[in-house]
């Protein structure tokens, strides 16, 4: 089917385009941006007047809860959420049950996702078997099965010897390693940022040093092994400084943050709101503002949803007993837009963090941009419209977010995956 998206403001950060242009799609691919190719006749015309036409969003972390946690969410429900959020490519972390540590599991996930014919799902393999930090996985086989990177998610490798070997092995093949900086000892038992709020509430704190101590180890080992290292979910100003120092020393390292860290801080826990229990924890206001500035400056390469659907039973618990995480697929775009509006960040620059830049970290070339020949994965949205987020709006099975009841900018009108309109009329 030939589609013409007309009259929209096309923002394609990868190709430095920000202009009112038409986008032409044929056979699931972008065939032209600007003038129609010779002989193009659209079967469908989408009028995007007053709307932004951007590449479909690329999310570096979305838990789809399969296999193992289907009672919390399923591929079906979360794919609908991704479409509603304008996300067309997503990386799926390996903290499933069982963990994504065997090629068969990865193949099954890819097969299930492909059959749904929705967002492109890119599994992230476990760096060590069962994420236990003891034995490295069959990384080469896992990549053949479809993995784009390897991670421990938030169960850090305790034995640094194993971590070194895992990084060496990954570097042998040029595989990407994504690590979340957590020192297992300093973070032990912690549920909130170690600061005034946690002290007042009597919650066990996670000091910033739980992040920086681990981070310094990872950066040293990356320098030693030459592995392609990506640091996931940093939460503190001190972590940013450490990454900047490593970069100044010549290390090529990227990093991302979760979208909620742009807007929330430890004070938002209020009277023990379990919706604000996340790992890494919401840090101080100072940390939050450092993250916002660094994201605008490009020092943080990407923003992800860190989507973690948790059912009500998992949240209706005393704070420390609740399950951590926020639903995020449908909040990624609104939260990035809200940040861009508040900090007056150029829209193209803001969108780069959830499209081109994220695609680069994942190593995918056919998504995250609107260049000719790319997959026609497109997100068409109204950047200025606001709506109050309600439970009923959320397609995700996880309704766990402290943003319910708050007005958020950005309404997705259409989501296209390979030229098929998957969301919006």
């Amino acid at each position: 089917m030939n589609i013409q998206i007309a009259n929209g403001r096309v923002i394609d950060p990868a190709n430095q385009i920000d202009a009112q242009l038409d986008v032409f799609i044929a056979e699931g691919k972008i065939v032209a941006v600007g003038a129609a190719p010779a002989g193009f006749s659209p079967d469908r015309l989408i009028d995007a007047k007053g709307l932004i036409v951007a590449p479909g969003l690329v999310d570096l972390s979305a838990r789809l809860r399969e296999p193992g946690f289907e009672y919390r969410a399923t591929l079906e429900s979360e794919m609908q959420a991704a479409m509603a959020g304008g996300i067309t490519s997503l990386a799926c972390p390996p903290d499933t049950d069982p963990a994504l540590d065997e090629p068969g599991l990865v193949e099954m996930l890819c097969f299930r996702a492909k059959n749904l014919n929705c967002a492109h799902v890119y599994p992230v393999g476990a760096l060590t078997a069962k994420l236990e930090g003891k034995r490295i996985t069959e990384m080469a086989e896992l990549v053949e099965a479809g993995c784009v990177a390897f991670s421990q998610v938030n169960t850090p490798v305790v034995d640094t010897q194993v971590l070194l070997r895992a990084m060496q092995y990954a570097a042998t093949f040029g595989f990407r390693v994504w690590l979340q900086p957590i020192d297992p000892h300093l973070a032990k038992g912690g549920v909130a940022h170690d600061g005034e709020a946690a002290s007042r509430l009597g919650l066990t704190g996670i000091p910033v040093e739980a992040e920086t101590v681990a981070l310094e180890t990872y950066l040293s080992l990356a320098k030693l092994t030459g592995v392609k290292l990506h640091i996931t979910r940093i939460s503190s100003a001190a972590a940013l400084e450490a990454i900047e120092r490593a970069r100044a020393g010549g290390l090529d390292v990227t990093c991302d943050i979760a979208a909620h860290h742009l807007h929330l801080c430890d004070m938002d826990i209020g009277y023990f709101d379990p919706q604000c229990y996340v790992i890494p924890p919401l840090r101080s206001q100072r940390d939050r503002s450092a993250l916002r500035t660094a994201l605008a400056a490009g020092k943080i390469n990407a923003v992800c949803s860190d989507h973690t659907p948790v059912d009500d039973d998992g949240k209706q618990m005393p704070f420390a007993e609740a399950e951590p995480g926020m639903t995020g697929l449908e909040l990624l775009l609104p939260l990035v837009l809200k940040w861009a509006q508040e900090d007056k960040v150029d829209l193209a620059q803001a969108l780069a963090r959830v499209t081109a830049s994220a695609a680069g970290i994942m190593g995918i070339t056919k998504g995250g941009h609107l260049g000719v020949g790319a997959r026609a994965d497109v997100c068409i949205f109204d950047a200025n419209a606001e709506k109050v987020l309600t439970r009923e709006d959320l397609k995700s099975q996880g309704k766990n977010t402290p943003f319910l009841g708050l007005p958020l900018p950005g309404i997705v009108k259409h989501t296209l995956v390979e030229g098929r309109v998957m969301f919006g009329a």
Partner: protein, 320 residues
């Protein structure tokens, strides 16, 4: 978010923490408690204020003393008291906190007195009651994790006021394991709200919370320096499991540097009083000579505790 323990009119609906409660409410509780101290001296130790009401003592964590004083307080107000030791019952069978509570509501509870090992558990309960339209049921926090122990904080304030009258002329030192202490957090909140000009905390760095000075206290690591000239010494209990680990090397060393001995007490004001929430570890945080000495007001604390709990329960019953 509104403070869930106050009604729209500023009346006490639940008692969950002293942090954020206005001075007027704290003072009101202490004022109401005063006449209740005399009930114990009557021949018939009963008032009809809670007649026909069912008070459920729900203790998800073991306690004898606190539960008993709540029970006495409720019985003196003529309530029906039901004690549940949940620590050894249904939650061990996998039932969630809110399921347990729903069942107790179905049995006709009017007030919950709850102790729980997790900070914030009573908020969860109060929010659940509101969300399910059972707002008339009150929650009294009898200690939640490290967060708060408001009736202990209040009975300490009652004791201080009884012996020292004016809060605004006092220097108060809180000594020991502030990090793990819900009692200390409630005391700090109450003392600063009631206008004590100098609240000190004394302890090794391993037992003080991060940014504790932000709670409005002065921090001392040298006990002798910290006790100098204080009018009130509030000792904290040191749990045995804190000993011999990464927090403290031994109870002997702790006692030597942070235990309250007659020599160290000499540095305080001559008429200083010594409080302890009990149960005491003699020879760990407090010397027997001090515990049994003339400065100690530890037993009056227990007596006042019943009056303060009666005051809280009667206010909640009247408010709801």
């Amino acid at each position: 978010m509104l403070n869930p323990q106050l009604s729209a009119q500023g009346k006490l609906k639940h008692l969950i923490t002293l942090d954020g409660l206005p001075k007027s409410v704290l003072t009101e509780i202490l004022d109401i408690a005063a006449p209740f101290t005399e009930v114990a001296e009557r021949e018939v130790k009963k008032l009809p204020l809670l007649r026909g009401k069912s008070v459920f003592n729900v203790f998800f964590e073991n306690s004898t003393r606190t539960r008993t004083t709540f029970e006495i307080a409720a019985k003196r107000l003529s309530a029906d008291v039901i004690n549940l030791n949940v620590a050894t019952s249904s939650t061990n069978k996998g039932e969630t906190l809110l399921d347990t509570v729903d069942n107790l509501c179905a049995m006709g509870a009017d007030m919950f007195v709850m102790r729980h090992a997790s900070s914030g558990a009573p908020y969860l309960l109060a929010q659940h009651l509101r969300a399910t339209g059972r707002d008339h049921i009150s929650v009294v926090n009898a200690g939640d994790g490290r967060h708060a122990h408001p009736t202990q904080g209040l009975l300490d304030m009652y004791t201080i006021r009884h012996f020292k009258q004016d809060f605004t002329k006092l220097t108060v030192a809180i000594v020991g394991d502030v990090l793990h202490s819900r009692v200390a957090r409630s005391e700090i909140a109450a003392l600063t709200t009631l206008g004590v000009p100098e609240v000190r905390v004394i302890g090794p760095k391993t037992l003080l919370p991060t940014d504790v000075e932000r709670m409005g206290v002065r921090v001392f690591h040298d006990m002798k320096e910290g006790l100098r000239g204080v009018d009130v010494v509030m000792m904290l209990r040191l749990q045995n499991e804190r000993m011999n680990g990464a927090l403290l090397p031994s109870s002997q060393e702790y006692f030597k540097f942070f235990g309250l001995t007659p020599e160290k007490l000499e540095l305080a004001a001559p008429d200083a009083i010594v409080l302890h929430p009990g149960p005491m570890n003699r020879g760990v945080e407090i010397d027997s000579a001090v515990a049994d000495g003339s400065h100690a007001v530890i037993l009056p604390q227990v007596t006042f505790g019943i009056a303060v709990r009666m005051a809280v329960m009667s206010m909640l019953a009247a408010g709801n």
